[in-house]
Amino acid sequence: MAEKEATVYIVDMGRSMGERHHGRPMTDLEWAMQYVWDRITATVATGRKTATVGVVGLRTDGTINDLEEENFSNISILFGLGQVLMSDIRKLRETIKPSNTNRGDAISSIVIAMQMIIEYTKKNKYKRKIILVTNGTGVMSDDNIEGIIEKMKEVNIELVVIGADFDDAEYGVKEEDKDSRKAENETLLRSLTEDCEGVYGTLEQAVSELDIPRIKVTKSMPSFKGNLTLGNPEEYDTAMTIPVERYFRTYVAKPISASSFVPRSGTEPGSQAPVKGNAEGDALASVRASRTYQITDESAPGGKIDVERDDLAKGYEYGRTAVPIEQTDENVANLQTFAGMGLIGFVQKDQYDRYMHMSNTNIIIPQRANDNASLALSSLIHALYELESYAVARLVTKESKPPMLVLLAPSVEADYECLIEVQLPFAEDVRSYRFPPLDKIITVSGKVVTEHRNLPSVALKDAMSSYVDSMDFVTTNDEGQATDDLPIDESFSPLLHRIESAVRYRAVHPNDPVLDPSERLTEFAHPSEDMVKNSKSHLEKLMSIADVKKVPPKTKGRKRQRETEKPLSGLDVDALLSLEPKRTKISTENAIPEFKQTLSRAENIDAIHDAVQQMAKIIETQITHSLGHSNYDRVIEGLGTMREELVDYEEPTVYNDFVRQLKGKMLREELGGDRRELWWFMRKGKLGLIGKSEVDSSAVEEEEAQEFLAPN
């Protein structure tokens, strides 16, 4: 539960805030509001009712406050402390404009803000804060400033003063030719904040730091509390039991999720310019999902019938067999387990491959307030550390949960000790895909070759080595010394923060386009300029030795591989094929191989046409005879093969003519009835016309090809 908050923003709206200074493209007020809106929307985004905000206008044309005294004129409470909603943001946006006056005392506005907070928060526990944003040009009086300071400390309010063009030696801002009154005001405000132990800063810094993403701190709850055991305490008197707790060490923060909506009825459906701004929130209706269940029934029209949810049993698939599980033994397929972390054995650190890490990581610490457990776990941590070992354990976090295998590594810091835990793969989690070695080539006959176009030469290896060595990624600590760390603390989830800031930006600027991601978020998208400069010569050398050539798009694909279409022995099967007496006509049952072989043997264009004709006929017959979708996969495979081959042979016209006809026949239901489903499969498989981009000689423009596949 986060602490309750009461924050009052005092926005200087005086006439001078409407001016532009020092060549900035925006007025002081616009500049200041970048900061204020960012902070307010950040609070709104939390959605917390207890994160309350108030807004006070300083140097406003009118006066809206309870202290009806001359000193407090031209100060308006624009929004009393409370949760800010979208409608409030819209109202405030309308209200906060430069006024026509420069009258109004900043110090008085602080008093009003204090008054607001004291009244609202009473004696309750709150995080109290006043943020004043001003350009410091108005008249300020230091009457009773001590009283203010005293009160501020008494009720524990943090005062933050942010000023446009305020001097800040630390940040490196100094305004030349500063107005003497402004200089006086700055001195006054600075000493005031210092006396209140508040924060005093220049607006330039505040705005520049807006794009540093703010990290949401999540308090971790233990995901397991139980015993770390070695041996079985239920069975042996030599078993070791240490009560421990488990917490997240890493856990991926997810971006806020969007919900689905549709334009509310009454607003024109499909109108592309959605009503933004004021009416936005009301124009959307939420979407509900309803689920129905169907089973296959060949006798029913459409082959499917609806069944009631209540008539269905829970179950699983075992291969293609449906296995219902009676309600009474619903848990029968679950392995019975009991919570606990049992050590299985120990492994050598240098024998472990880091890529076996399967999950996020957790930490294991001793049970709270159990000194013995802490001492016992400490000895395990240190023993592992000294032996450069890791422990393998079986972890069940709760009764009946599936067991996990975890690796436990010791972590010893100056004032913290724990085990770091990560999940290991089970046998089923490892997929054995095999790949040839990278440092040698083994030929078909088993010979080992070490010089080959796919193997790096000594020169290439050297060039790579010097390039890699010239590209050290430098990280530094707070003192500027080089460290061996990865830049984890400085890297922020780009998607999470981009969506979050886009939502907040859109809330305040409903009609602006979405912004590019801030530089902070893409800082690590490219190597730094310095590194690129330093390694330039090494890279150039590497590139020239590597001699990598981009494959022109046209020659991609299977054609290049034609030469390898021979069995291992290198036997010329094509020669044998041509001797086969039977293969003059393409047979239905062996259509695809024979089609390919006929094409490869074709000596003239007529032979190709003839092969396509035969194939076309086979495909049409398959469609006509298809009961429902029974032959569709074969049809798609045949069409796809035809298309691929004819692209390779650069004969787009024959295919295009055929597929045009086929589409017509299918949609006219001339091939055994309604074949729209098949047409949908063809669209999905992109089996439409062969366009110019695929084969130069095609007469079909890209638009036409796309049009052809468009849903009718």
Binding site: T238, F261, C418, A427, K461
Partner: protein, 654 residues
């Protein structure tokens, strides 16, 4: 549960190759073609007579097929598998009638298990064939070898027809040939060339023939006699995939006695059990500005979960899965809506902030897929804790850039030698959220049968962002003294895993295996297995035998240091109030002396006594909960549930 399924969906999405260019469906079909001949049926005796190692090559092959079938039901529930026996006396091909001898299309070919997603019944049938000694005569008859030789051309065409009709348009179709005959048509040239032609048909159809040769006791299998004319260099479905030929032709030729034959065949088949599907293909690996090579990505490590439960309709003759259909409706009108009309909006300040679909896409886009190196660091810079998910594996491809392989190899060798990692900006697919990742080189690993276990290549390990790092909770540190650490070191030394290394293949996932074992039992109406074969349970006896004494020594030292460190103040610090009592009780209850639990031994005793007297229900909820928690049992529910659970605990134990 909601969250579980949510994350799983996301994972599945990631798992799929989003190949928009291909018309083929991403599925795999494996058809075993097992040679049935006298030599294949002759058991190879085991050298150790005590072990039941007598195994004929044919039964080893059938066991492998059965094993693979079971395994794929778990790992690839939508892929197909079939078994074709050839060289058998009897023949079977779909509806063809055995009696019309003359008209059989494929004599001596017996399609034992049709190519399909296996049903429970087929699993059972294959199992009975794999251990024919226990099977009926009917089953054994199937394995009667033919007196006349089978035509290889015919067998290959039979396989062709099975693939053509049962697995059309699959992206991966493979024929696993298991035989010990390296010269099927020794003296018939015509038959040989017919076979090579049929093999070419399979190649053109996109079927990959994979040979599992078995050497005869007195004769090494020689692929060059016949099979080199049948098998092709490249995989027809994945032309760019680097062929891995070595084990096919050399080392993995199964030979020797029954058991080692079975094992080497298993390991060789296992290594090819999954078709190679890429996670992403031809993504540029940008080594420096304007210097790119292309790589393919694969998921070699991926958590295998049991398939989600579904709804089963039992109204018909056979139970069938009911398919859920979701319709989306507008909340205000209740009318059905099209996907295209849906807008995405975020809740903000009590309202919705919405974006058009184009804007939503723009927000998610951070550029084209890329693996861009932004610098190098020593491997030691990668902390153990800096991990959020499984890694991706990459291997070079020559598809987009000629020369990718040699450059990749140079980088791979350099990173291995210098023990460095590359820091990369990683966008695996269009519109995927970018991550910062560590790219490390992995060396090739070979198992004892000469089959590759871990391929050479690079691993991309996504790093946590600052947002993903949690703060350590507060914890008190009491550093153990040297003597205690020494005592623990002795314990650790005693209990190293074999070769001090974690080998995943030794640990099948017990809950996954149990789940499917039970489903199989239900589907086949068999008795449930008594207890699971759980390899992950620690070997308690071994711990006791090898390290028991050391643990006791450690416990004594712990007690000593604890009393020195905390002394009388222990009572004040925590719930350890009753520690004093426990120490006294230690003599009586040696079984508890190693525990450092905070729970009072009193609870343990109290519950035990109550159970003996049958008065567990008189205990307080707090005591029951404490007892259950200490024994890893759930503590939720009403008091009656807790009492039940405590009683169950004792019943199971004694």
């Amino acid at each position: 549960m909601v969250e579980d399924s949510y994350t799983r969906e996301e994972d599945n999405y990631e798992d799929e190759e989003l190949d928009e260019t291909s018309f083929k469906s991403v599925k795999d079909a494996v058809l075993f073609a097992i040679d049935i001949s006298n030599s294949m049926l002759t058991p190879r005796p085991s050298p150790d007579p005590k072990k039941h190692g007598d195994e004929s090559p044919a039964s080893a092959a059938l066991k492998c097929a059965y094993h693979l079938m079971q395994q794929r039901i778990i790992s690839n529930p939508h892929d197909m598998i079939g078994v074709l026996l050839y060289g058998t006396q009897s023949s079977k091909f779909y509806d063809e009638n055995e009696d019309d001898r003359g008209d059989l299309s494929y004599p001596h070919c017996y399609l034992y298990t049709d190519l399909d997603v296996p049903s429970a019944q087929e699993v059972k049938q294959l199992r009975s064939l794999a251990s024919p000694a226990d099977a009926d005569d009917d089953v054994r008859q199937v394995l009667e070898p033919s007196k006349e030789p089978v035509s290889m051309a015919n067998m290959l065409f039979c396989a062709n027809q099975v693939f053509t009709s049962k697995a059309p348009n699959f992206s991966s179709r493979r024929l696993f040939v298991v035989t010990d005959n390296d010269n099927p048509h020794a003296d018939n040239k015509g038959m040989r060339s017919a076979a090579t032609v049929r093999a070419r048909d399979l190649y053109d159809l996109g079927v990959n023939i994979e040979l599992f040769p078995i050497s005869q006791p007195d004769h090494e299998f020689d692929t060059s006699i016949f099979y080199d004319d049948i098998i092709y260099k490249t995989s027809p479905s994945d032309g760019d995939a680097p062929a891995y030929l070595q084990p096919d032709t050399n080392t993995s030729t199964a030979k020797g006695d029954g058991l080692s034959l079975l094992n080497s065949l298993l390991s060789s088949i296992n290594s090819r059990s999954v078709p190679r599907r890429s996670l992403f293909s031809n993504v540029p690996l940008e080594i420096g500005p304007n210097f790119k090579i292309s790589v393919n990505g694969y998921l070699l490590l991926k958590k295998q979960e049991p398939a989600r439960s579904c709804f089963v309709w039992q109204g018909g003759e056979t139970a069938q899965i009911a398919k859920g259909v979701t319709t989306l409706m507008s909340d205000d009108t209740g009318q059905e809506i099209e996907k295209a009309d849906i807008r995405k909006a975020y809740k903000f300040g009590g309202e919705q902030v919405s974006f058009t679909i184009e804007e939503q896409q723009a927000l998610r886009s951070f550029g084209d897929p890329v693996i861009r190196i932004i610098g190098f660091k020593p491997l030691s810079a990668l902390p153990f804790w800096a991990n959020v998910k499984h890694p991706s594996f990459i291997y070079p491809s020559e598809e987009d850039y000629i020369g990718s392989t040699r450059v990749f190899s140079a980088l791979h060798q350099k990173l291995l030698e210098s023990e460095k990692l590359a820091l990369v900006w990683f966008i695996p697919r269009r519109n995927a959220s970018p991550v910062l990742a560590a790219m490390i080189a992995g060396a090739e690993k070979i198992d004892e049968n000469g089959v590759q276990k871990i391929p050479p290549g690079m691993w991309i390990i996504p790093l946590p962002f600052a947002d993903d790092v949690r703060q350590n909770p507060e914890s008190t540190v009491h550093r153990a003294g040297d003597a205690l650490n020494d005592a623990m070191r002795d314990v650790v030394r005693q209990l190293q895993l074999p070769k001090a290394v974690y080998d995943p293949s030794k640990y099948p996932n017990p809950s996954l295996q149990w789940h499917y074992r039970i489903l199989q039992a239900i589907a086949l109406d068999e008795d449930f297995p008594e207890s699971p074969d759980d390899k992950t349970v620690p070997k308690y006896r071994q711990v006791h035998k090898r390290a028991g004494d050391y643990i006791l020594k450690w416990a004594d030292e712990l007690k000593l240091q604890a009393s020195e460190m905390f002394g009388g103040s222990v009572a004040a610090t925590s719930t350890l109030v009753k520690r004093g009592a426990k120490t006294e009780a230690a003599g009586e209850h040696p079984s508890k002396r190693v525990k450092v639990e905070d729970s009072a031994p009193g609870v343990e005793d109290e519950v035990k006594k109550s159970y003996a007297k049958g008065t567990v229900s008189k205990l307080t909820v707090a005591v029951l909960k404490e007892f259950l928690h200490a024994h890893g049992r759930a503590t939720a529910g009403k008091k009656a549930d807790l009492v039940d659970r405590v009683e169950q605990y004792f019943e199971q134990k004694f």
